[in-house]
Amino acid sequence: MNNWVEITMKLNGKTVSCRVKPSSLLIDLLRDEFKLKGAKPGCLEGECGACAVIIDGNAINSCMYLAINAEGKEVTTIEGLGSDDNLLDAVQEKMLSHGAVQCGFCSTGVAMSIKAYSEKMKALGIKPTREEIKKTLEGHLCRCTGYIKIIDAAEAVFEEGSEM
């Protein structure tokens, strides 16, 4: 089981190669090898959502994902959001303006989920209801905010509309 495997993936827009153990988790690869600490180890059992990253357009708990499965995939972490012109993505801006961030440990994972969901819905031209938004956020635990401001922020992302 200790045979190292070389994988190549697109990480935050850049093609990278690295050697991983077949048993390595994506979260450990990101945090320990690439030093991308934005994916947070909240439970390492797929319950809390703090470690969510976007893999080929889907928000995935990186603690439940083997690193070798990232081969050939496009992986975006919180560090990959935003651009040179807008250092924060619109999702992050909305989370701040709606007060959705307190201790922040869940916030990066939440931002990745809202980002993936909003991209998907916008591509389909769908504006989800508040109830549908709540459903997509169910995989994230937060002990500070009581979720309401997170839901408000996600809803506001869809209010923008113009970038559909």
Partner: protein, 786 residues
């Protein structure tokens, strides 16, 4: 208040939010130091046992292991304020979280492997898991360091409190109704999203220990650490990384912290210890589970006459600050609503359960659940309206309570009226309850400290300000940011008073070698105490600036306005940084730096626990509407109406976040959360088995702030952040009783519990057959009630 504010009272984004939402913020889990080792702890396999032998030879021989530590290798003092807690256990273990061996190794994997290689031989003993059993003469001594026999006449009592005021017997005699009930409160935990963590580094060259520690009380922590390790406190530096949730869990220094420090001292290398989530459930503190026997009376008109309270708290095997929660609970029993007589007794009893700590609300959710349930029962017995009985007895401005609390301002009545009216209390309470889904509404109020709490020798906070040559302000505050938004409020105050924009403000608040003293982030005190401290420092800074500005502008008079980076009076104005440079570069050459220490006017309570313990008091009421599915027993919270006397709203966005977050924790306490222990073993140490609310479970939360403008607070503000969870479980239980006519005396109100109660209630006229398992439960519960 006539003054118009530019920033105070305006919704302001989190000052430190960008770092947190972008992954830039460095939490304890993200730290890496050169040559850092990773620690792991071997905990006991049994909650109560003798340790016959410990064999660490295989672990020591494992390549990559740098230090293996047992009690034999550690020259340390016991921890906890009772000094009853050895950081590594020898001879015996007393609860399932007990630490026996610690390892530091070159990788996490090696540390974990080393732990697996350690052999411990136990002689398993029958533990005591019920505090009532622990009180019996026949019970064994649970904590050998306990002083119960000398202090409290029972070997297993860790701490006890007695309080009274008024003539209880006379008040009892004139009571028209007396309600006596027993309430049972579960063990719940903080479940901070970041697990407990510490990184320690030690230099044998300087003898200095640096701890990156997620503590809420860095200066008390430093003192406790120094005592544990037999070090000079000033040789310890505590640096707080960004903290991923506190809620009271980080008020006590826990054994893993001095253990990690010792590993760093022994290896002279940095060592990091991170809890897994399972470990977090197992070995971080919990809220006090307790049994409250409450007797309350009221006269014919419904005026309260007396309260008699007896509380048994399950202290667990060791004592934490949590054993002092009766300080807060006795305030609720003595002083929430007017009550002429009160007698209160609380005992924290050692058991072989894990020890309970402090948790947002500090005993008050438990006390308020019991009291507000009894108030509903008294109203029913008197045939009175439940809003009316609360209004009749409500606290009022100018009241001095039996315990000596001075309510200089008091928003209790406006808060009650707000939720009764906005929540449409009467319409919902009296609506017919028909069909499968039954709706009900419940009321509850609360009292909590709003201006700190004088429980330590000082309840103060220091602030140092540095205004630099370019007009940038550095606020060095003793207070702590744990996500609650204190940096934002402090920045807003500085912007308001000095006219400096937010991007020119920096806040330093994480390093005990740099920041001035503060007692810690607890008791909803930070905005009040740190805000007042900052205002004091600003006033000193302005003295300097005003003097120089007057000189430079060749005018007399102190009535300067600070705005947009300028200091002005009438048509004269000068840039603030120009004034600083003149202070600095012109004789007599001074820096634009000041320090101020604020100590609230509150007083220590006497031996009878009487005295005005806080700078001000917060009052709140909630009206909560629920819907009970009578087929499944599931309770759904529909609407939460919160009204709270916050003195003055400083940051509406941050305040609303505290209200919603508090209510969410309160709903979890009421409906879903419980650590299930069987004979000292935790059965649900994961988010799968321990049910936190999710986004889907949250009701609408309506908030109606009451601004009483208390003279003691910054701009009139009071502490606010524990209050929103304190009355929630009581209001929900009262709402469920209103909906289905069944009252519950314990939490949480799980669907199972509600369904069993409904099935029991309908015995004789069952609309459907109970399932086999329900029958089994009913049999089991017979005679026990709920």
């Amino acid at each position: 208040m006539t003054k118009e504010f530019k920033h105070i009272g305006k919704a302001t984004q989190k000052f430190d939010g960008k770092e947190r939402v972008s992954g830039k913020a460095v939490y304890g889990h993200d730290l890496e130091l050169p040559g850092m080792l990773y620690a792991a702890i071997l905990r006991t396999r049994y909650p109560c046992a003798e340790i016959l032998s410990i064999n660490t030879s295989k672990a020591k021989a494992l390549e990559g292991v740098e230090c293996v530590l047992t009690a034999e290798d550690a020259d340390v003092h016991n921890i906890s304020y009772k000094r009853d807690h050895p950081i590594l256990k020898k001879g015996r273990v007393n609860c399932i979280r007990d630490e026996i061996v610690a390892v530091a190794a070159r990788s996490k994997e090696i540390a974990e492997e080393a732990i697996r290689l350690i052999e411990v031989e136990y002689r398993v003993k029958k533990g005591v898991y019920d505090p009532f059993e622990a009180l019996l003469d026949t019970a064994p001594i649970i904590n050998e360091f306990g002083k119960g026999l000398e202090s409290f006449d029972n070997k297993n009592i860790a701490e006890a409190f007695h309080y009274e005021h008024g003539d209880l017997e006379a008040e009892k005699a004139r009571s028209k109704v007396i309600v006596k009930k027993r309430y049972e409160l579960p063990r719940v935990t903080h479940a901070c999203m970041a697990t407990s963590n510490i990184t320690a580094d030690y230099s044998p060259l300087t003898g200095r220990l640096t701890l990156w520690a997620s503590t809420q009380v860095p200066f008390l922590y430093l003192r406790d650490m120094a005592h544990a390790l037999k070090m000079a406190p000033s040789n310890i530096r505590v640096v707080q990384p960004v903290i991923g949730g506190g809620f009271g869990s980080k008020l006590d220094m826990l054994p893993f912290e001095p253990i990690c420090a010792l590993l760093a001292i022994k290896t002279a290398k940095p060592v990091q210890l991170l809890y897994s989530r399972e470990e977090e459930f197992l070995a971080s503190p919990t809220r006090q589970p307790m049994v409250i026997d409450l007797t309350t009376g009221a006269d014919e008109q419904g005026k309260f006459t007396f309260r008699a309270v007896e509380i048994i708290m399950d202290n667990g095997a060791y004592t934490s600050w949590g054993a002092t929660t009766p300080f807060v609970m006795m305030q609720t029993f003595s002083s929430l609503y007017q009550v002429p007589a009160c007698r209160f007794d609380a005992r924290a009893v050692y058991t072989n359960n894990p020890f309970a700590g402090s948790f947002r609300g500090y005993g008050n959710p438990q006390a308020t659940f019991a009291l507000e349930s009894n108030i509903d029962l008294m109203a029913e017995a008197l045939g009175m309206d439940k809003a009316e009985i609360r209004l009749l007895n409500a606290n009022y401005p100018g009241e001095i309570t039996g315990q000596g609390l001075h309510y200089n301002t008091c928003g209790a009545i406006p808060a009650l009226k707000a939720v009764v009216e906005k929540g449409r209390y009467h319409a919902i309470a009296h609506a017919p309850k028909e069909g499968r889904y039954k709706r009900g509404i419940g009321l509850a109020s609360m009292l909590h400290v709003g201006g700190g709490a004088k429980i330590y020798r000082s309840d103060g906070c220091g602030t140092t300000l540095k205004l630099d040559d370019y007009g940038y302000l550095t606020i060095i505050t003793g207070s702590n940011e744990i996500g609650q938004g204190s940096e934002t409020v402090l920045a807003m105050i500085a912007m308001e008073e000095l006219g400096i924009e937010q991007d020119k403000i920096k806040i330093i608040n994480t390093d005990t070698d740099v920041k001035p003293w503060d007692v810690g982030v607890h008791a909803s005190r930070t905005s009040f105490v740190a805000g007042n401290s900052l205002l004091g420092a600003i006033s000193l800074l302005k003295e300097k600036l005003n003097k120089k500005a007057a000189e430079l502008l060749h005018i007399e008079g102190p009535d300067f306005v600070y705005e947009n980076g300028m200091i002005r009076v009438d048509a004269h104005e000068i840039k603030i940084d120009k004034v600083v440079r003149d202070i600095h570069f012109m004789p007599p050459h001074q820096l634009c730096e000041v320090s101020f220490f604020y100590e609230p006017s509150s007083e220590f309570q006497d031996k009878q626990f009487k005295g005005d313990v806080s700078g001000s008091y917060a009052f709140a009421s909630q009206a909560i509407e629920v819907e009970v599915d009578t087929l499944t027993g599931a309770v759904r919270v529909l609407e939460v109406h919160v009204s709270q006397d916050v003195g003055r709203v400083l940051n509406p966005l941050g305040l609303q976040g505290q209200i919603e977050g508090g209510v969410a924790t309160g709903i979890g306490y009421a409906l879903t959360e419980e650590m299930i222990y069987e004979d000292g073993l935790l059965k649900n140490p994961s988010f799968h088995g321990y049910k936190l609310l999710t986004a889907n479970d949250m009701p609408k939360v309506h908030f109606y702030p009451i601004e009483t403008n208390d003279g003691a607070g910054p701009y009139g503000a009071k502490g606010a952040s524990e209050a929103p969870l304190i009355p929630t479980s009581a209001a929900i239980a009262n709402a469920v009783a209103n909906a289905i006519g069944v009252r519950f005396y314990s939490l949480p109100l799980t669907a199972e519990k509600v369904l069993f109660a409904l099935v029991q209630k309908s015995v004789g006229t069952p609309r459907r057959c109970a399932t086999l398992s329900e029958h089994a439960q009913i049999e089991k519960q017979k005679g026990h009630g709920f």
